[in-house]
Symmetry: C2
């Protein structure tokens, strides 16, 4: 029950669900998820750690960048089935479709440039 509830609670936030859907079939750098969701880096980092704790994603650190991808082997049965369900139900969802389109643009920019522009944008606010 505990594992199951951890998975369900991890899914109980639209931004986390959008992040999971964005990770379908590809790995994403944190800055790319930040760009997609339009949230503060600290917020996205927290969301990803919740997904990780529920065994829905795994992370990998390469140089300064952290990459997340959907958990496969390391996912618990609960997590694995949740991911299957998510994809079955939401692949055709409007929000997810829009994210998928926007992701194409985001992926065209390399992480280096993306992070730089995010830092500048934050600097411009203060």
């Amino acid at each position: 029950m505990r594992d199951f509830m951890d998975v369900i609670k991890a899914l109980a936030d639209e931004n986390r669900v959008r992040a999971l859907m964005a990770l379908r079939g590809r790995e994403l750098c944190v800055c790319q998820i930040i760009e997609l969701l339009g949230l503060a880096p600290s917020t996205v980092s927290r969301h990803m750690s919740i997904l990780k704790q529920a065994r829905l994603v795994v992370s990998r650190k390469q140089g300064r960048w952290a990459y997340y991808r959907l958990a496969a082997d390391s996912a618990t049965p609960d997590a694995r089935e949740a991911l299957v369900w998510l994809q079955a139900r939401l692949s055709t969802d409007q929000v997810v479709r829009a994210d998928t389109r926007r992701l194409l643009t985001i992926l065209r920019t390399d992480p280096e440039t993306l992070c730089r522009s995010q830092c500048q944008a934050r600097g411009a606010l203060s």
Copy 2:
């Protein structure tokens, strides 16, 4: 997405999940769910209304009693699949098994007696 999130959020509470599992294959009176979960009537009523809004259960009023059961035809695809998943994942869960056992005892008492004893128990506290 909205429907999907409604379903997920409805599942994101252990007491609601326990209530859904208790409703497998049978209809239950509110007082029976109150007895099972050990929560205040108002709390259980609120939980059931959240499950109802997510289309996971339907209710029926007969006399003074309100009965809830799992939604079948009236469930959205999201809700229906969630129920299937729940049962697949949690049928062997320890908490659910314990509830199932306790439910057998509860079902042996008729609702009338059950409600009366609940009223008395609440009266005894004040």
